[in-house]
Amino acid sequence: MLITKRKPIDEIAGFLSGESSVFLLGCDGCAAASGTGGEPELLTLQSELEDRGIAIAGRKVIDFLCEKALIRSGLRPYSGLLAEADSVIVSTCGIGIQATATVVELPVHPACDTVSLGGVRGEWQGEERCQECGQCFLEYTSGVCPMTACAKQLVNGPCGGSKDGRCEVEPDVRRCAWEVIYERLQRQGRLDLLRSTPLQIKDHAQMRPPVELRGTKRWAIDLAAAKEEVS
């Protein structure tokens, strides 16, 4: 289970420079239970973006975005709408954002920060990992997580340690994450992002789970149910 919180709309809108039409993607798993990735939340996001003059090419909620096969099959009927979009805004955890960025050719923007849940993890089958760092960097890294895919968790570019595109840590099994980021941005014609991204400094305080999430509940579904019982 991964708890997410929606980024402020100004931050999300700030990601869309030069874009006029976006596709919204939600997740009916943890993100829906977190109140960030279900249909109602996508509708809210849609109206906030439309208020700012951004057109919505389409909208889809998929169960579960951590599974790339489900993303592929879920998006298949939407290929026409995706073709009209400049990018995809993904409202879910870091894993779902990474998995989407791997599957779609379009640039992918995160709508959420993923917050620590004290080590309780979601389930996924791919290689994407989320550190639950609470300050999603995926916007600046073409959907490749520097916190988990880079052995040194570097957020301002590659170190000098990659050889033939392989990481100095476990070169047999690890590519240099920043090589992957570079390649993907180059393919999307977005290399300037590497130059224009502001200096990134990790805020480890964001990794602490919010007080209301600490301690007792393993599943946000339980949390949601508990909230309903109380109200």
Binding site: N156, P158, G160, S162, K163, D164, Y182, L199
Partner: protein, 290 residues
């Protein structure tokens, strides 16, 4: 003495480096540095290079400073969080150290303590930014300091990397963050380096070409296979291989001097990494006409 002042005087700046001991006996390190004193502008002190636990670079830098040898204090992000990094930079100022080289650092898995926690709280770019703030009288959080730092900030770049464009992009970020000079990873091919410099000169920051003293063909092959961003061309390896054992030292010096001669007109200085053969640095400089 800040390296940046030498560059602004138009001087071709020469540095070399020594490594602190694994232990407390500084005799050998100081002897190596003493041998360099009359020929170089400053001596880098490596920070637990290759992630091998050693005596610290801060105290070792101070030892050189106290002897009148200008140190370049190397500081990596591998072993300290941002509190310790900033603290060491302030301590360096108190010790009279004026030049610091800010690096990300090798991963701990490459060294002799692979189970250590790799810290990397900051990276080379954010470390430079933090140091720049200390120079401006505040810490990374913006809290005021009683007495600013006054450090000349350097950084590294790899001209012969797999993807040179990513290196150039990161170099630009380092300049923005406060780097005022660069020392490069070892270069062996003057043409590759000249191409790199064509692009790097746009940053307007002095670059010192990194020179490694080749000791044998085996060492060259090892570096090609294992050291990121280092490519020794085959003709140089063949040249070393064809040299009888007793003459290899002189051959290595000869090759290093040749590379320096070939690159010195396109850069603003050189940084010689002799890897234990510091005694040969004067011969390299003689051979290069410096």
């Amino acid at each position: 003495m800040k390296l940046v002042d030498l560059f602004s005087q138009g001087k071709f700046v020469i540095t070399s480096e020594v490594a602190p001991p694994k232990g407390t006996d500084l005799t050998e390190m100081i002897e190596s540095a003493e041998g360099l004193r009359s020929r170089v502008d400053a001596v880098n002190i490596t920070d637990q290079q290759s992630s091998v636990m050693r005596l610290g670079s801060l105290v070792a830098s101070q030892q050189l400073k106290d002897r009148g040898i200008e140190p370049v204090f190397q500081l990596t992000c591998r072993d300290r969080n941002r509190i310790a990094l900033q603290s060491d930079l302030l301590s360096a100022c108190a010790a009279g150290i004026e030049n610091v080289l800010c690096l990300t650092g090798d991963h701990v898995c490459l060294g002799d303590t692979p189970g250590a926690k790799p810290v990397f709280d900051l990276d080379s770019v954010s470390l430079l930014a933090a140091a720049q703030k200390l120079n401006g009288g505040v810490d990374i959080e913006g809290n005021e300091l009683a007495g600013s730092a006054n450090l000349c900030l350097g950084a590294v770049v790899t001209p012969d990397a797999d993807t040179v464009e990513t290196q150039l992009i990161k170099m630009g970020r380092k300049v923005e963050a406060g780097a005022t000079f660069f020392q490069t990873q070892a270069i062996f091919d003057a043409e590759t380096f000249a191409t790199f410099m064509e692009q790097a000169k746009a940053f307007g920051v002095p670059v010192m070409a990194g020179i490694i003293l080749l000791k044998s063909a085996g060492m060259a092959n090892f570096m090609n296979a294992n050291i990121a961003g280092v490519h020794v061309p085959q003709p140089l390896i063949d040249e070393m291989a064809a040299t009888p054992k007793g003459e290899r030292r002189a051959k290595g010096v000869d090759i290093a001097a040749r590379i320096v001669r070939d690159v010195k007109d396109v850069c603003q200085g050189i940084h010689i990494m002799a890897l234990g053969w510091e005694k040969e640095v004067p011969a390299i400089l003689d051979g290069a006409g410096l």
